[in-house]
């Protein structure tokens, strides 16, 4: 049960949030131009790394805003929280 510092509301309990998986995977602007492999790459392939991972989180039981989190998957330590559209931190 970790704490997440929502960029809009401040630090709240994890139970208020839902996770949206890996971040910075933009939906292709022209899906019809992609072949099956390219579309599958967007749709299914995720890194699932051990270490700091950039993820999307949603303050579902709060302000309902989506934002990004840099979280170490090995110990749940959150290195940084940043808004949608912002660049991931350099680590």
């Amino acid at each position: 049960m970790f704490l997440i510092n929502c960029p809009y509301c401040g630090e709240r309990d994890q139970s208020e949030f839902i996770s949206g998986g890996e971040a910075h995977i933009a939906r292709p602007k022209q899906p019809t131009e992609l072949n099956d492999d390219q579309w599958a790459e967007y749709l299914f392939m995720r890194k699932n790394i051990k270490g700091v991972q950039f993820e999307r989180w949603n303050h579902a039981h709060g302000c309902r805003k989506w934002f990004n989190v840099a979280r170490d998957t090995s110990n749940d330590k959150i290195e940084k929280v940043y808004k949608m559209g912002e660049q991931p931190p350099k680590l």
Binding site: M1, T32, L43
Partner: protein, 1001 residues
């Protein structure tokens, strides 16, 4: 109470308050302040249970939570009885009833004891080896294993007690109210921090509070006196919240901790009425200080498990705290100085100490010198090779150790005793530290694992970090706490500690005996009866990982989680395999640290509070009209409305006939409703639904299908265009929250350029849906001025009207295939409008129907229910709903996936109708469909998703998903059931009114 076992005038036990209790049917007495264990010991009762495998007699061994043997069944009430309670942890109360577990017919004569003589046949892994084969015998084996396993009985009735949860926040959480925890609390408080101090016992002070000897001194005062003054100080400190009788159960990431407080377990049963029994604290701490202390280790020698063999520290606590002698003829067996404190307590209390056996060569500390001067016989460099006495220890056999300490030499010496106090040094309680993800390191000098690295803001101090002597404990606790809290000076900086012990000890994990190992029983895990021999056998059989050795031998797997002798098990593995203990690592410590009751875990979330449930504004009407309810998500939905004596089947037949013949009414308030506004709202709908929305006019409704990006159907519903840039979307009842979240996701992350705002309005509106050939007449009676002609108010359109002051949104949409109107009003008018419809419909026999009839009516029309006829693997094409996929739109969610190689496969499962050859046979939902049931393995072609008996069609109808279903229309297939095979024919999915004529009444 035996007179010569009870020492009077002990300050922690109130001799003016005599309490009676019953142990194994016998009435006994103790005092307020006793634990059940100390009360039993004061009655000269050591034998309290039988071991798990060999049923060997076992006695009270410790004075704390590490107790492996004295686990009892408390209470004899079917609802209140509690198994596996440690006698050392339960405070005595008047009227306590307890019984031994794991023995039949009695603890003194136990039939399972024969296992002890069969023990050569019960080696490590016995259960795995024997009960594995043949697999078909497992059911029989399980019966016997469970019967002879017998660790207590569960209550069979509902728990009548009340439990509570509470959140707490603090700057500093201190776990353990011994001397180091108290010092840390005071330092933190003096620095103006909010401190929460947890102590699992009734009183603060740990083991120093009852230390009566005057060898160790703090600031020139007797250490217990010094500590009492500190406790007085802390009790009056406003920065410190103290919770006693509170044990920490779990230490999670981000300093989130769970602690359980016992509030009534120490009271007599009559005093517990209407009080909360236990409370679970959910604690968020900025910093955590662990001062949980250490557990004394036993020593591992042949027959080290007899009743009367106890930890030396426990023997000392029973004398100094409870005023109870554990024996009248005592022998001490040690490898370090701390047992000499027990010797001093025995001496000071006038209790006979026959001898001390010490495996070391000598010690010249002040305390040992003092014991020597008292004339007590000390056998240096000796060990115990055997013990005697079945239900209580009677004798120990002692021999001299050789130079290497791996064998015994010389003559056997026999010593009489009725209590053997053993000490093998100390093990820091690092359980909480490791639970929190901390990594341990091995200290080769003291042979202990100590806290090393952690990601959390935490600190271990005192003996929990490996400081065992008073001077180390105090001075390092002060130093470590100051550093942790970044404090320059404290009021303890000039502390003066005088300590008397030597820190040297001698460590032999498995003591030698004059007999070969195979002929001995040196117990490591008393509860699970695993011995050093079992560990060695496991290693011989090829187990290497300590986690595997643990499971194979069951060492450390009892209710005490091997708190006592896990270290010895590790040590023996390390010795046998020539490995450094640090490289071997430890087994995992999992929460809870001490067992929790289920009641504490669930707290108030029982009965009607088990889960949140949602009611529609018409709920009370449904209740008054005998509705049966079904759970849909968190909603309670009216399921069907049986009239006196009607079965569910009969009810549904009646309700559906009425809806088709005249009129029916459904509470549709639970459907998810999302208000969509903004200049790009239309574009947004185009992107989230598969069909086109550009040409929808204000006042019109449209059905939409929503996919996941993988092309699978996700949700469906009707959306109404209320205004130029204003829509009302409905979703399935169960999918509402997820749809809302998904739409927000796309708006905020993929399409932030769209000017669209979403508001969940599910709870804001109530919906009554009136359907049937007479629906128009009923609506006309309610809204007299509303033009209901098909020209003015056609199917799939909407009008806003007023009923008095109530704004009503009326949609002409249908999920039943009948002419139907949905009236949406603000939720507070929901029951009013519902009753209005019932009243207006009376002359047309308006019949309220529930979800079951709704399902039947829509199935007759072949309308899908997302989540029933779909399961996340169905595309619109699979559902034969190709018509709803726009060919013109460039993109929508899931579009690209509709022509992936997998989704265009011809042999996917597709939605079809099924008709049974016997029209009265109703298929079971979920039943498998096959073509040939004789050719094995039978090829499964699909399964039934919806099935009903249609009273209108007078036959059974079903929807199913079927491999290549589209091509199979007219084919005969089989549905094999447990006692028959049902013949079916594949049909169209629309069973009734294929031309959609009923929609206009």
């Amino acid at each position: 109470m035996s007179k010569n076992l009870r020492i009077n005038n002990k300050q922690f036990v109130d001799e003016t308050r005599k309490l009676s209790f019953v142990f194994n049917g016998k009435k006994l007495y103790g005092y307020k302040g006793d634990t059940l264990a100390s009360a039993l010991l004061s009655n000269n009762i050591h034998l309290v249970g039988r071991s798990f495998k060999y049923h060997r007699p076992r006695g009270i061994m410790t004075s704390g939570s590490e107790e492996p043997n004295a686990i009892l069944q408390i209470g004899n009430d079917d609802a209140l009885t509690e198994p596996n309670v440690r006698a050392t942890e339960i405070e005595l109360y008047d009227g306590l009833i307890c019984n031994s577990q794991n023995c039949w017919p009695s603890v003194k004569f136990d039939i399972g004891g024969i296992n002890n003589f069969l023990s050569p046949l019960l080696p490590a892994g016995f259960y795995y080896k024997t009960f594995m084969w043949p697999a078909s015998f497992w059911e029989k084996y399980e019966y016997f294993i469970r019967k002879s396993a017998g660790l207590g009985k569960s209550p069979t009735k509902q728990d009548p007690d009340m439990y509570d949860h509470r959140y707490m926040h603090c700057d500093i959480l201190i776990v353990g109210g011994g001397v180091s925890g108290l010092i840390a609390a005071k330092i933190a408080s003096d620095d103006n921090k909010k401190v929460l101090l947890l102590e699992d016992k009734e009183l603060l002070g740990g083991s120093l509070i009852y230390d009566d000897n005057d060898i160790s001194k703090i600031d020139n005062q007797k250490s217990s006196e010094w500590l009492k003054r500190l406790i007085d100080n802390i009790n009056n400190d406003k920065n410190i919240i103290i919770k006693t009788r509170t044990s920490l159960a779990a230490y999670h990431n981000y300093n989130f901790l769970l602690a359980r407080q016992n509030l009534t377990d120490h009271l007599s049963v009559n005093d517990r009425n209407n009080k909360i029994r236990q409370r679970l604290y959910k604690i968020r701490a900025k910093k955590v200080i662990i001062s949980t202390g250490a557990i004394e280790r036993p020593q591992i020698f042949h027959n080290n498990d007899r009743p009367g063999i106890m930890l030396a520290s426990a023997v000392k606590k029973y004398i100094d705290y409870y005023g109870v002698r554990c024996g009248l003829e005592n022998v001490l067996f040690t490898n370090n100085d701390s047992a000499y404190e027990t010797a001093l307590s025995l001496h000071n209390s006038g209790t006979k100490l026959n001898a001390i056996i010490d495996i070391r060569d000598n010690s010249s500390s002040e305390i040992v010198t003092k014991i020597k001067s008292l004339g007590i016989q000390i056998y240096w460099n000796h060990t115990i090779v055997n013990t005697k006495g079945y239900k209580r220890i009677k004798k120990v056999t002692v021999m001299k150790l050789n130079d290497k300490g791996n064998d015994v030499i010389g003559k056997k010496i026999e010593l009489n005793c009725d209590c053997l106090a053993i000490s093998g040094g100390w093990t820091p309680m690092v359980h909480l530290f490791t639970q929190s993800g901390g990594k341990l390191k091995f200290d080769n000098k003291d042979n202990i694992f100590v806290p090393d690295k952690t990601n959390l803001n935490q600190l271990s101090i005192g003996s929990a970090k490996g400081d065992f002597e008073l001077d180390d404990v105090l001075i390092n606790s002060i130093k470590d706490t100051k550093k942790f809290l970044q404090i320059e000076n404290s009021n303890f900086d000039k502390i003066d500690v005088k300590c008397s012990k030597e820190k040297e000890k001698k460590n032999i994990w498995l003591l030698p005996s004059d007999k070969p190992l195979s002929k001995t029983k040196p117990f490591l895990d008393y509860q699970n009866d695993s011995t050093a021999k079992d560990i060695k056998l496991a290693l011989r059989e090829g187990f290497k990982s300590i986690e595997h050795v643990k499971r194979y031998t069951t060492t450390g797997m009892g209710t005490d989680q091997g708190k006592l002798a896990n270290m010895h098990a590790l040590g023996i593995v390390a010795d046998t395999t020539n490995t450094n203990m640090g490289d071997l690592g430890t087994t995992t410590f999992r929460p809870p640290y001490t067992p929790l009751t289920f009641g504490t875990i669930v707290g108030r979330n029982v009965g009607q509070f088990f889960d949140v449930f949602r009611k529609t504004p018409m709920h009370d009407w449904h209740v008054d009209n005998n509705a049966k309810f079904e759970n849909v998500g968190q909603w309670k939905r009216a399921w069907y409305y049986p009239k006196d004596g009607e079965s569910m089947h009969d009810t549904v037949q009646r309700e559906s006939k009425a809806a088709r013949k005249s009129s029916g009414i459904l509470d549709a308030s639970t459907l998810g409703k999302i208000d969509i506004q903004g200049t790009d709202a239309n574009e947004f709908l185009n992107r989230v639904y598969t069909n086109a929305w550009s040409k929808l006019q204000v006042g019109k409704c449209r059905y939409g299908l929503m996919l996941n990006e993988d092309g699978m159907v996700y949700d469906d519903g009707v959306t109404t265009k209320l205004g130029e840039n204003h829509y009302l979307m409905t979703t399935t009842t169960g999918g509402a929250a997820n749809v809302m979240s998904k739409l927000e996701d796309y708006l905020q992350t993929e399409w932030p350029e769209l000017n669209v705002f979403l508001t969940s309005v599910t709870d804001h509106y109530a919906t009554a849906s009136v359907c049937g050939p007479n629906a128009k007449k009923i609506i006309n009676k309610i809204f007299k001025d509303l033009d209901l002609s098909d020209e003015s108010f056609p199917h799939m359109s909407f009008k806003e009207v007023k009923l008095g002051d109530i704004n009503c949104r009326v949609m002409r949409i249908s999920f039943t295939g009948e002419l139907s109107y949905e009236i949406n009003v603000e939720a507070s008018y929901g029951k009013y409008i519902w009753e209005k419809c019932i009243e207006a419909g009376k002359e047309f026999n308006i019949t309220p129907y529930g979800t079951e009839t709704m399902h039947l009516l829509r199935a007759e029309k072949g309308f899908i229910i997302v989540g029933q006829d779909t399961d996340g693997t169905m595309t619109p094409v699979d559902l034969q709903m190709d018509w709803i996929i726009s060919k013109k739109k460039y993109d929508f969610i899931g579009k690209r996936s509709l022509y992936r190689s997998d989704t265009i496969r011809e042999d996917r499962k597709q939605l079809v109708g099924l008709l049974t050859d016997d029209p009265n046979e109703i298929l079971e939902e979920g039943a498998q469909i096959v073509k040939d049931e004789n050719k094995k393995p039978v090829n499964m072609l699909g399964h039934v998703t919806s099935s009903y008996f249609s009273p209108t069609l007078k036959k059974s109808i079903a929807l199913a998903v079927l491999k290549e279903g589209k091509q199979l229309k007219g084919q005969k297939l089989l549905v094999p059931m447990i006692n028959k095979t049902i013949k079916v024919t594949v049909s169209d999915t629309v069973f009734l009114d294929k031309k959609n004529e009923r929609i206009n009444g």
